[in-house]
Amino acid sequence: MSDPMDFLLLTKGPLFNLAVTVFALGMAARILEILVNGRRPNYSEARGGQWLPGLRTVLTRSVADPGTFKRAPFNVVVGWLWHLGFIVTLLFFIPHIALIKSLLGLSWPGLPNPVVDLVTAVTLVALVATLVHRRTHRVKRRISTPEDYLVWTLVFLLVLSGYLAYNRIINPYPLALGLHILCAEVFLIVLPFTKLTHIFTVFIARWYNGASFGRRGVES
């Protein structure tokens, strides 16, 4: 594809439809499967409610307890940093809001571009830090799988291409924007089939955990 505008139109048209289709098919199937399957029936007598403890765990598991923080401060701080940065840029950059509105009809106020730009830069640095940490930490290196690196690369490329496009570092712009959209499409397609699924399942999992604690009468 030699023509940047053709490339952009390809990513904005057919490729985007394809990515959205694969993503929606895969993700809906996975979530429905989880929900319908439910959990193994528990025949013991319930010692407490499930809903509240479930929700409480969604919260408490999201904030690291002091013990975890002491053992792995890097994981907690940097992990939080880039996750937050990713969500902020994804949900509060005006062009993204326009895109989401066109897809779902939902819209909300955005953040000024320089704020998003700064957050993106911090996210990029944090992402590099996580990779360095993963490679230098003995245990982490042992437990890392190829999938972990694949997921890291996808996330990093997605954020990086967005940063380059916004700051107009790659020229001409249709090429830069096309590359960013292409990264997003690969991300969407891969999402339902890798651990990226946690974007949608993390809270379900935490709720199940908390609910089962609640039922057993354990502190959630």
């Binding site: 053709d6 439809n17 993503f23 993700m27 809906a28 199937a29 066109s102 779902l104």
Partner: protein
């Protein structure tokens, strides 16, 4: 490329102007206007003056194919210098079937004459796209000659070809899907001669004359980008030179055409502005003798100087929004996926239940016997 050597006895421009009673100051002023028109810094004015003093009139042949005459309309609104000056003093416009007085056979004869006399040296300007060699030539003809053969014949003896307007440069409206006439651009057909694309629908008038002035002044074509567009005019995007950019950077956007933001002159991104992906000179050269330009008038950029702009999604749809019906795909695929997931899970549950139903209790003794 030296096209001005055709008649060494012909006088240079400065001398001709002086004979017409134009003073030295008038000439310097003309040079200042020309520099402005070529988007060159004023520091270049002495060099431009020196070059223009020696400049000779190139012969220009202008062919119009599948077009709306908007580009010629635009050119005749070029104000610096006036088009009369341009035609009479700077170039020798030997054929332009809309502007010339002659018509019919006389006009075609003038074209053939100019092509013969200036073979290898004339400048060929084209506006409009044309049916490609494989398309039905009957879609567009002039004096019974197909656009394709007229172009190829004229290109043969041209020093360079300037494609004026998005149609000539990229196919434009005639080539928009489903492209019923099989329209192609000049650059699709001309491979062995330099092609300059002056895109825009229409191009900024000063850009058309600016390219001519550059050719005339320096005797060569200006530097071009990857789409063969002169960098001096197309080197930066609308967005990069837009005076509303500070609002974009601050995140202040007009949401509708008459809200408070629109009245305060905020950025038009959410109203579909294609300025970030469009490369043209509107933001600095402006329109209507430098009065204003679309974004200053409150309308988003349509992206008219870029290839395929007619097919690049709605004019009032933000640049980040996909061009296809992606939300339909999202919904349909989501529904199918949900059903599939539910079916698979239900089946699995059913199997688990069946197995639970036929499960036989086993005692320790029985197990020990089996082992």
């Amino acid at each position: 490329m030296r096209v001005f050597e055709k008649n060494p006895l012909e006088k240079g421009l400065a001398e001709r102007l002086r004979e017409h009673g134009v003073s030295r100051r008038g000439f310097l002023k003309f040079c200042a206007a020309t520099a402005s028109m070529m988007a060159l810094p004023p520091a270049m004015i002495p060099a431009i003056a020196a070059a223009l003093e020696r400049a000779r009139r190139p012969s220009v042949i202008w062919l119009s194919f599948q077009e709306c005459t908007g580009c010629t309309e635009s050119l005749t609104r070029s104000h610096a210098p006036t088009v009369e000056d341009l035609i009479l003093d700077l170039i020798s416009l030997d054929y332009h079937h809309t502007l010339q007085a002659a018509a019919g056979e006389a006009a075609e004869a003038a074209r053939e004459q100019a092509m013969r006399d200036n073979h290898g040296q004339y400048l060929l300007i084209v506006d409009g796209s044309l049916p490609g060699p494989d398309a039905n030539p009957g879609y567009s003809t002039i004096a019974g000659v197909s656009n394709y053969s007229m172009l190829m014949e004229a290109v043969e003896g041209a020093a360079a070809v300037i494609a004026v307007g998005t149609c000539a440069a990229f196919g434009g409206l005639p080539a928009a899907a489903p492209n019923p006439t099989g329209a192609v651009s000049v650059m699709d057909l001309v491979k062995d001669k330099p092609v300059v694309n002056v895109s825009g629908c229409p191009p900024v008038p000063m850009v058309i004359t600016g390219v001519l002035a550059h050719f005339l002044t320096f005797g060569r074509l200006p530097e071009l980008d990857e789409y063969h567009r002169p960098l001096a005019f197309f080197g930066q995007s609308i967005h990069d030179r837009c005076y509303r950019r500070p609002f974009y950077d601050k995140g202040l956007f007009a949401e509708t055409f008459d809200d408070a933001g629109a009245r305060a002159g905020w950025c038009l991104y959410r109203l579909g502005c294609k300025g970030p992906s469009t490369y043209n000179a509107c933001a600095t050269m402006r329109w209507n003798a430098g009065t204003s330009w679309p974004i200053e008038a409150g309308h988003p950029c349509l992206g008219c100087a870029e290839p395929r702009f007619w097919d690049a999604g709605g004019f009032y749809v933000p640049l980040s929004v996909p061009t296809g019906p992606a939300s339909d795909y999202l919904l349909a695929a989501g529904a199918v996926g949900a059903v599939a997931g539910a079916v698979v899970a239900t089946k699995a549950r059913g199997r688990a239940k069946e197995e639970a139903a036929v499960r036989q209790p086993v005692t320790v003794e029985e197990l020990e016997q089996k082992l």
